[in-house]
Amino acid sequence: MLQCIFLLSDSGEVMLEKQLTGHRVDRSICDWFWDHVISQGDSFKSQPVIASPTHYLFQVVREGITFLACTQVEMPPLMGIEFLCRVSDVLSDYLGGLNEDVIKDNFVIVYELLDEMIDNGFPLTTEPNILREMIAPPNIVSKVLSVVTGNSSNVSDTLPGATGSCIPWRAADPKYANNEVYVDLVEEMDAVINRDGALVKCEVYGEVRVNSHLSGLPDLTLSFANPSILDDVRFHPCVRFRPWESHQILSFVPPDGEFKLMSYRVKKLKSTPIYVKPQLSSDAGKCRVNVLVGIRNDHGKTIDSITLQFQLPPCILSADLTSNTGTVNILGNKTCSWSIGRIPKDKTPSLSGTLVLESELERLHVFPTFRVGFKIMGVALSGLQIDKLDLKTAPSRLYKGFRALTRAGEFEVRS
């Protein structure tokens, strides 16, 4: 089981250490870790499981913060990694984002949370809703209170009732004047377009996010009009497995507040909403770049915040790139980012220019891969449709809301 958790800032400073068992881990392990990060670079940083001379390390990097957990004995590595991911999710939820300052500023809360989340190296309470009841997240009111009175406790005095019930994700008996449920379909489209411009792979990874404010102990059922298109699914613990197995119906008692009800995947889609046509040619120490972006088939919804990013090859001396719409930026790490926004009606956005290669190079052999970003409100590109949402023991007034959103996930165009 886990023996220790360290939080490292992106400069390698150990911001926090939390020893979990009697087998203490010296923080010199972090020095060892950081030495290797510096000497081996990114390939070491992207290794989630590391065998150091004394310990096995699990690392998860989120927004520059490295979560490092140590163990000396056999345990499922995914358990360690998944737990660290949960910790980072909970922290960023509590602190409204993750960065070095925010963790240092709220180190007491981080300690208290870690103490609730893991006991003797084994996860204890990881359900965000319950944690919120045990340890109050920092908010304006508590901050002001603490300034004025010099004292405010964020530790709850009593045990949340849910820890004892058979539905540990739901706080006991909330009361609402307005009963509301909002269901959002949030989809990410992953696509790969190869050098010949052919669509190699196109699939959608989607989540059903629910925000429920319901009194009492509601029992909801949600069904889809076309569940057969789903390739595979994963559920929040509240979903009952058997109704899904037999009728593809989601039956659940929701946690209070916002949560991810299920995630799903739809494979082998036939088209993408936009096209990106890069044309690169290279000779005589130069490389000409010309990229066109356009809407392929109209969904009737506007496509927002279209961006295009690519890594310039390392052997480039200078780059001169211009576009007819949007702005082009070349960032410090030789990443070129073109933000288009909405596609105008009258013209096709294009990026063109030349890259000058280093003097001894005749031509470029390796062309960059373009990563595309976009956002479409109001449509789920997978075509998944919610049929109905029912509440057993319906209260007098129930407001139901549905929304959909698709954005680009790993959308890549090779050139």
Partner: protein
């Protein structure tokens, strides 16, 4: 009020960030010690105490040691404020082990809190109390846990389950049965949350006591979907182990179907009838039977068995009999396990999905296994970190059953954002699941990947294309043509190769050799290749000398193959290239390359001279031979490393992590176990006992070594006296004794444990050397290895006993004690009263001119604490009178309870009381445990990993000694002996241990003491656990030496303390 505000808010931007920081604990983290913390802790306001504790936490977070505040913090444990309590607990758990005495003060508060009506308070108290880790309070904690295990609150019961591993971690044998009993109670709990935690404690407390599971098996399976996710991960593993131990393997599963197809031919027919439709579909799937067998065997056998098997190279040793199989169709226990784990494949937690997939892969009938594929592929999307782990597991599944993953090859196409490791894994998986129908699209992808800017990845892709070509001979021409088409594009590929060979010498020669082989093999294929060949061959000849061994051999093969197949115009060019290469190769450093070049030259020279039919066939035989060898090697490569259970850490790091356990032996759990009374159930471990299974190989190899070493021994003409005991020997002449110190276990360490891979390499080399001898030809290889392997000589030191000087400490100076001087030294005597007592020799000397009367030493604290963990003194006899100048020796016996703080004593004489302090020496909390080297190595091998601590230090004692003895006649004393002796004397004078052996490497160079090794053994007085110490020397004889000191002991805290003590006295100069 805002010191941080005024000080730092110089600019507007800073000020704006400060606004967000107001009300947070930012200033506490930035300047934790800008105020005096101590008075805050003693404040009467909770808020001030809170602030002080937050400051302390900030200091802990920053890695500073603030344990000196411990006494003040402990006082606050009684506070009513929950926030304060929480902060105190956080602090307490961090430092309790450093301050056992003060931590004891908090126990009463915990006990009070355990009766609190608030469940949260009870749970926290239990968690903290169990986390303090003091041996003395273990009985109290045990009582508390068993009480909380029946608590009405689920949360408290859950915490009770979590407390059990903490208790078990203290390794107090007498509590084990009670702990297991509580685990049993909690496993039977009706709340799923408790069951999950209980499963976790079962796994760490008593993983072998599967009969405990047997009683609740059904219920556990039914409750499994409701258990919280973390508990599910552990519980799935436990249930799988139980099902295999109880019922054996499922004969319809993939894992066993191929294995036992011969053994169960008759039975198979019966089950085939049952399967009906299932059969047709399953037959259409091709499984890589060798890989499946390999994987399956690895899951079951323990590391020791694996080692013994690989040393024998006996591939078919693993036999299962019919009784070890059950049918998944008829066995209800197996059915319910599969039924209850199948919905978990939809879990949100990727670890749960992987664990459930593992169960299905091992236990499910093969027509049902495909249901794990999609969930496995889905969790690839969850996070970057888990992607790598999941792919690692998929890789093994995909090699064992490529057909299942074949339709999903698109999922393994890479994204540019993937890390190198992920990309390399994906490409490898793609190459193993490619089929005739999918190869064209996969190959198209590969062509894109070759242009990746990451050269390592491009090289991995080339290797993958080679593997595809081998796996799918029909499609090979596509691969080769494609590759060569790339090659033609300005030799772009090769420029990569040259670069990557420079960059990365490990990975690339394999890929390089592969592609060279392909060129030779398909040299007459298509239209482009023959035209390319001359250029390519010239290029190869040009870079021949720079190549790795593997590639060199392959180039020779290729060129000779091309030469044989060549006709017409290019023949003369090929001949020139060939003779040039042979010339180069004959001067090669490696004998393999030289051999092969001569061999090829002889063979082919016939070919040039005469055009006879026999010669040509002969040459074709050679070609066949080359070709076959190559394919065979690649086949064997499919899974040639050890495979560990899916989802385990060992699987990722590719070695057995401490605590890794393979699946239990099928049907090793007998029904009788259920009938035994609970708590005393036999621990049924794998049928193959570790010791016995690895024995034969050890013995055999040991005898090999014996002969080897006796030879070395006699040639160096030294004495050999095996029965020389090392310590307390009266023989004044030290003997250097060349004997078989490389005894069985030593060899095991040196060769078999560490390098199964080496063995494989050797046998490969044996194959490569072409001299197709008998299978036994790998033996010389091993022997050769052993010659290179260190042979050691044992040194006996005779007269150490005499030179041991116990260090004397002063208890009371004459000036302070009115003329009474008291010294003490720790003695190696063993107390006659109790084995827990440490004996101390105390010398009372009267330096005054008057008689001193009524001298006695008593324990000052004995009347304060009645608790039994405080060091106690066995009452000493009174010395009625001490004449001037007289010295009296007394033996004092103290029970230190492993406390390292000075013991406060009161010395009475003439009616006066003087406080004195006795400093405990951890070196004397042990007693000598004589054993031979064999037993030492045996014990050592059982205390690996976390029970082993190593520290380094320098040692200069031998130099001081030599300087001292410079004037003596003993100038020519052997330097090795001097070092050994001074080390041994130092160790034996400072700790109550026994010398086991002193070894030095036989081929040691003059002046170089590296490799010298001293072993000491001892036994902890209180717990009778063995404690082994090994000192290895590095450095020159005449310089200060670098020592690496290793302590192996089950009691890790003790071991660490002991190690620190040893280092401190080794470093301090001789007195």
């Amino acid at each position: 009020m805002f010191p941080q505000f005024g000080a730092t808010a110089e600019t507007l931007s800073k000020a704006s960030t400060m606004v967000f920081r107001i009300g947070t604990d930012a200033h506490l983290y930035d300047d934790p010690d800008d105020v005096n913390i101590a008075p805050l802790l003693d404040s009467k306001y909770d808020s001030e105490k809170c602030e002080a504790l937050k400051r302390l936490l900030a200091l802990i977070a920053q890695g500073l040691d603030v344990s000196n505040f411990f006494p003040q913090v402990v006082k606050n444990v009684a506070s009513q404020s929950l926030e304060l309590k929480k902060l105190v607990y956080l602090y307490l758990l961090h430092y309790a082990e450093k301050h056992p005495n003060e931590a004891l003060l908090s126990i009463n508060c915990f006990q009070k809190d355990l009766g609190d009506p608030n469940a949260l308070v009870r749970a926290w108290a239990l968690r903290t109390m169990a986390g303090i880790r003091l041996h003395v309070i273990a009985p109290l904690v045990l009582v508390a846990v068993s009480k909380c295990a029946r608590d009405p609150s689920v949360y408290v019961r859950k915490c009770a389950a979590n407390a059990l591993p903490k208790l078990h971690d203290l390794r107090q044998e007498e509590h084990n049965s009670t702990i297991e009993e509580i685990v049993g109670i909690l496993l039977n709990d009706h709340s799923p949350a408790v069951v999950g935690a209980a499963a976790a404690s079962f796994a760490s407390v008593c993983p072998y006591n599967l009969s405990l599971i047997g009683r609740n098996y059904r219920k556990l399976c039914e409750i499994l979907p409701d258990v919280e996710e973390w508990g599910q991960i552990v519980l799935i593993g436990i249930l799988l182990r139980y099902a295999i131990a109880r019922h054996g393997l499922v004969k319809e599963s993939i894992m066993s179907s191929l294995k036992c197809s011969e053994n169960f031919h008759a039975e198979k027919h019966v089950s085939d009838d049952n399967m009906g439709l299932g059969k047709e579909s399953s037959d259409s799937w091709a499984y890589d039977s060798e890989s499946v067998n390999m994987v399956f065997r690895c899951y079951i056998e323990s590391p020791d068995e694996y080692l013994s098997r690989s040393s024998y190279a006996n591939r078919a040793s693993f036999e299962l009999n019919g009784a070890q199989f059950t049918s998944g169709k008829t066995n209800d226990d197996v059915k319910i396990l599969l039924y209850s784990t199948s919905p978990l494949l939809w879990s949100n937690n990727s670890a749960v999905v992987l664990a459930a997939a593992g169960v299905h892969c091992i236990m499910a009938p093969k027509e049902d296994v495909k249901r794990i594929i999609k969930p496995l592929l889905f969790i690839l999307r969850s996070s970057n970190a888990s992607k790598f782990v999941v792919l690692n597991n998929i890789q093994v599944f995909a090699k064992a059953m490529p057909s299942l993953f074949a339709p999903h090859h698109e999922d393994f196409f890479i994204y540019s954002s993937d890390s190198y490791q992920v990309k390399a894994l994906k490409v490898e998986i793609l190459s193993s699941i490619a089929t005739d129908s999918s190869i064209s699209s996969i190959f198209k992808e590969f062509q894109d990947y070759i242009r990746d800017p990451d050269r390592r990845f491009a090289a991995a892709t080339v290797a993958a294309i080679g593997l595809c070509a081998l796996r799918l001979p029909r499609m090979a021409h596509i691969c080769v043509d494609g590759l060569l088409a790339l090659t033609r594009q300005g030799l772009f590929l090769f420029s990569y190769f040259v670069l990557s060979v420079c960059l990365d010498r490990i990975k690339v020669p394999a890929a390089r050799a592969m592609i060279i082989w392909m060129m030779g093999e398909y040299s007459s294929l298509g239209e482009i290749i023959p035209r390319m060949l001359t250029t390519v061959l010239k290029y190869l000849a040009w870079c021949f000398t720079l190549e790795a061994l593997e590639t060199k051999l392959q180039i020779l093969n290729t060129v000779s193959k091309v030469l044989l197949g060549a006709t017409g115009e290019h023949l003369s060019t090929y001949k020139k290239v060939f003779s040039y290469l042979v010339e180069l190769a004959e001067c090669d450093l490696n004998y393999n390359v030289r051999d092969r070049s001569r061999f090829l030259k002889k063979l082919l020279s016939y070919n040039f001279v005469s055009e006879g039919v026999e010669e040509i066939t002969c040459c074709h035989v050679v070609v066949d031979c080359i070709f076959k060898k190559q394919t065979r090697e690649v086949k064997a490569e499919s899974i040639n490393y050890r495979v560990y259970l899916p989802g385990s850490l060992s699987h990722i790091v590719l070695h057995a992590a401490p605590g890794y356990e393979p699946l239990p032996k099928p049907c090793s759990l007998l029904l009788d176990d259920f009938n035994k009374p609970e708590g005393t159930c036999a621990i049924v471990k794998g049928a193959g006992d570790h010791g016995t299974s690895s024995d034969p190989s050890d013995n055999e190899s040991a005898s090999d070594y014996d002969s080897q070493h006796s030879f070395t021994g006699s040639s160096s003409g030294a004495h050999a006296d095996d029965n020389e005991s090392s310590e307390g020997n009266e023989n004044p002449d030290p003997l250097i004794q060349f004997s078989d110190i490389g005894n069985a276990s030593e060899i095991q360490d040196g060769v078999f444990h560490s390098s199964p891979a080496n063995l494989g390499e050797i046998s490969n080399r044996a194959l490569e050397s072409w001299l197709e001898e008998q299978p036994g030809s790998s033996n010389p290889g091993i022997l050769e290895q052993s010659q290179a392997c260190k042979s050691l000589a044992r040194i006996s030191i005779g007269d150490v006993g005499r030179r041991i000087k116990r260090k004397s400490h002063s208890l009371l100076e004459a000036a302070n004690g009115n003329g009474l001087k008291v010294d003490y030294s720790f003695s190696s005597e063993i107390s006659t009263i109790s084995h827990l007592l440490v004996c101390i020799e105390v010398f009372f000397k009267n330096c005054s001119s008057e008689t001193i009367t009524e001298i006695t030493l008593v324990d000052e604290e004995s009347n304060i604490a009645s608790n039994d963990d405080v060091p106690t003194l066995v009452p000493m006899e009174k010395i009625s009178s001490l004449e001037p100048g007289q010295t009296t020796r007394m033996i004092l016996q103290v029970h230190f309870h492993h406390h390292l703080l000075p013991l406060k004593l009161a010395l009475f004489h003439d009616g006066e009381k003087l406080p004195v302090k006795l400093w405990p020496d951890i070196g004397y909390f042990v007693k000598p445990l004589p054993m031979d080297v064999q037993a030492f190595a045996d014990k050592e091998s059982r205390l690996p990993g976390m029970f082993e601590y190593t520290r380094r230090c320098t040692f200069a004692g031998h130099i001081e000694e030599r300087n001292k003895e410079f004037g003596d006649s003993l100038l020519n004393k052997d330097k090795y002996l001097a070092i050994c002796e001074s080390l041994a004397v130092k160790m034996l004078s400072n700790a109550n241990i026994s010398l086991v052996s002193v070894d030095m490497p036989v081929e040691a160079k003059l002046e170089d003491a590296s490799g010298l090794r001293l072993r000491f053994s001892s036994e902890i007085l209180s717990s009778s656990l063995p404690c082994l110490i090994t000192i290895t020397v590095e450095g020159k004889c005449s310089d200060p030496l670098n020592l690496s000191t290793k302590v192996n002991c089950e009691e890790t805290v003790f071991a660490l303390n002991l190690l620190n003590r040893i280092i401190s006295f080794l470093v301090e100069p001789a007195y």
